[in-house]
Subunit: 137 residues, 2 copies
Amino acid sequence: MAEKETENKSRLNRHRGDFKWHGIKTRRYKLQGGDWAHVIRRVIIGHKGESAKFHLRYFEISPGGYTSLEKHRHEHVVICVRGKGKVRTENKMNTMNYLDTLYIAPLAPHQLRNPYDEPFGFFCIVNARRDKPRPLK
Amino acid sequence: MAEKETENKSRLNRHRGDFKWHGIKTRRYKLQGGDWAHVIRRVIIGHKGESAKFHLRYFEISPGGYTSLEKHRHEHVVICVRGKGKVRTENKMNTMNYLDTLYIAPLAPHQLRNPYDEPFGFFCIVNARRDKPRPLK
């Protein structure tokens, strides 16, 4: 399927190995901000005219990388599918391993990190309509 | 985490192997209707007071099993994570393998089947507020 497709039609995106999908581009984690490192984003559902009230994205953090430490009103649901990583939610630190799932409640400060030697990859599901993240100092 | 927890708080559900999660019960696919066979359901996000606009469920179809052939206004997003299966959407039949993703558009008739020898397991994400499925004859 072409990345430009924008109709609200049923669609299969085949996994082509290495946590990449046919028809899905690899993008920067964020366009702006310098408070993160070595993270990529693949938007699987949400940018092609789908009417679902949620988006499905795949993120991958390379060894040594981390996402922004931030909070927002919208929730996150995270499913670890590649390697393992560290996640801070509120003031708790946990390790996520294969298929562990995480619900991040509204306004909970959170950050994901990869202090390991292998890529840390996870699905992250969010509301389609959502507020902007706010960085924490 | 206890299954009865109903607060809107951040929560890690560890995978305890075999596509089961700590704190998550195994349930029947549907409470009523005889148009399906050998399907179980695990609701990972959505039954514990979470405010997200979507629910995350894991379904597993044993060899020979199938879900209802049905349609509804709400969308499905399916991610294959165990074995492989067949999916009918509209009048197309596809095989789903590991990490293939499927978007099922509103009112598209659909059915998932497992004609193989291993369990077919997949995540299915839906809107939290959604209409009732309607069976197709």
